[in-house]
Symmetry: C2
Subunit: 354 residues, 2 copies
Amino acid sequence: MDIRTVADRANVSIATVSRTINRIPSVNPKMAKRVWDAIRELGYFPNTQARALGSGRSGILGLVVSDITNPFFPELIQGFEDVAVKSGYEILVSSTNYDPARMEMCIRRMLERKAEGVAVMTFGIDQPSIDQLVQRNVPLVFVDVGPDRPGISLLKVNYHRGIRQGVQHLAALGHRNIAFISGPLDQHSAQERIDAFSQSLAECGIPLTKEWLIEGDHTLEGGIRGMEQILAGSSRPSAIMCSNDMTAVGVLHKAYKAGLRIPQDLSVIGFDDIHMARAVIPPLTSVQMSRIDLASAAVNALRAHAESKSPHREYPIETQLVVRESTGFPPGTMQHLQRKVAAQPSRSARLVAR
Amino acid sequence: MDIRTVADRANVSIATVSRTINRIPSVNPKMAKRVWDAIRELGYFPNTQARALGSGRSGILGLVVSDITNPFFPELIQGFEDVAVKSGYEILVSSTNYDPARMEMCIRRMLERKAEGVAVMTFGIDQPSIDQLVQRNVPLVFVDVGPDRPGISLLKVNYHRGIRQGVQHLAALGHRNIAFISGPLDQHSAQERIDAFSQSLAECGIPLTKEWLIEGDHTLEGGIRGMEQILAGSSRPSAIMCSNDMTAVGVLHKAYKAGLRIPQDLSVIGFDDIHMARAVIPPLTSVQMSRIDLASAAVNALRAHAESKSPHREYPIETQLVVRESTGFPPGTMQHLQRKVAAQPSRSARLVAR
DNA sequence: AAAGCCGTCTCCAACGTTACAGGTTCATTG
DNA sequence: CAATGAACCTGTAACGTTGGAGACGGCTTT
């Protein structure tokens, strides 16, 4: 069944059917009704492939993520899909698994399917494979950093704000010994988060301890390894900031295994504020980076390019601390002793809660 | 740039280029080399849309899931993608969010893109919208149950085995009061899990308490609500089985909030064994349902139909208990008292561990 | 030497749609 | 009443690929 079948049944030409479907205003409402009736009776719907071939427009927006298994990404994908579908696009998701070969495949997939724009949300970009997209003038969106060319937009995440809030929160509680478990150092966003952390530390007059700057990999296992490294160290921090929530969950797990109580013995802060952060034990204090904002900024940037209507080069994304129960006074302080009496004094230190 | 450009550069006809790309054996190796060289020099790759239109084959396998935000599904998607790509297919994922209207959209997407097969992994099927696919002879795979027609395969999950192992594990520890938080009752798989649970209970001579059969919804929040309901009940079970891991995480969270220690005061068993189950606190005893098995059975079934080579009607999927630390002796038993002395006696009760 | 037959190539008609260039109809106008 | 033009319709050439129908050498067979 194709457009011809519909045309025959409605007694119009296929061109009219096409124009009806595409809601071109110059079609007589009477005819349009006949066409729609025929469409309904036949259960017809257009063939996307043929449509794309004819029009030269695929109506596809690509999304490349690094690890679909990290809960942050599904939440992002869902937001991206919602916004894209509302704008009349379909989406094509691909996961690189931090593997350059797979990244290559992903890019190729996007190219073959003629995606009209691709959001690369891997937080670490493999330049050579991206070049293929740049050369073919596919609109692109990156996080944080990317080549400065027309057709490319950047989602500028304000890591500094949320991370500073986190460090200040810890400092206010009395922490002076704070570790940081980062993402892979070759990822630009990991570097940015570290910078924000050390800068915030400086602002609070807290010295940076090299030993406590640990490279993780944004996975559960990375968090566990990071925590092991901290436990094996010569001295122990009273608080740990993590570059993402999965890392924090790993830290929480390892701390539990080691018999450390959170937050009495150790405070932990995550980053991303994934949905599950509120349900882990104890509920995780985390720097929120809105998936919805990220997703809609990405789609909007891509649309702006694809439909050529004044795209911006940069889209700011805010971050913000959400205080829950994984942070408290450092062990051995007055406040800590008080804590044993009061039910949950850390509540009073809460900035944002739910 | 198109196939013609390549043909010109290699000094052959477009048909030869097409046949070279598709590795048809009847092309002279000399020519093939010329063609491949031209392809490489130009950076050419075929247009998937045109290809699909010409050949009538889209090379797309669809995957419909109910909630991409539930960690079980991303793990499934990844497996599905791996297997599909290895078999030369691309995948198209869509998430219904338990919303019939979105389900409709998903189906339509699959139809428009001419998917050669669709795996519906929603664990609860909305008959009317599925019919469109059935009518158009799209090969389908369902979980547990589906219409008995050619072109449709079923993934028969052996819920009974894993759940019985769970109940037996609890019974062996001495539990007699076991609650069950199910999935949405209108989902067939939820029903099957309940059946397996009550049957296993009967096998162990444990009475079923109606009050402790609670309807959840496979989300974190559902687990929290389920636990609230249990806490509000007239009597309290010593163990809870959950229909999936997210529910169990919710239970763990609420138990923590209520000041209950796991497993000393309450044992909890999940279902799915998501990756994070090993990292929650305490590590969750769970019934494992292999995503890899599920994914590869789904792809194989779809391929068998699409390439018409002896498809099976049913593909069995096994489940198995993985014992971790969220289960222990019920409170107030001799063993429980012993437990206070020994470091981690529950270890001895472990069937499978890691 | 004619016939037959491979192996390998080219030509060209689909595939289902869009979009543009013309048509046709019909009311309005001088 | 013919001319005008707006409104709306139809015909058809793309779009990039596939795949079947032949064509064309060069080889073997009779």
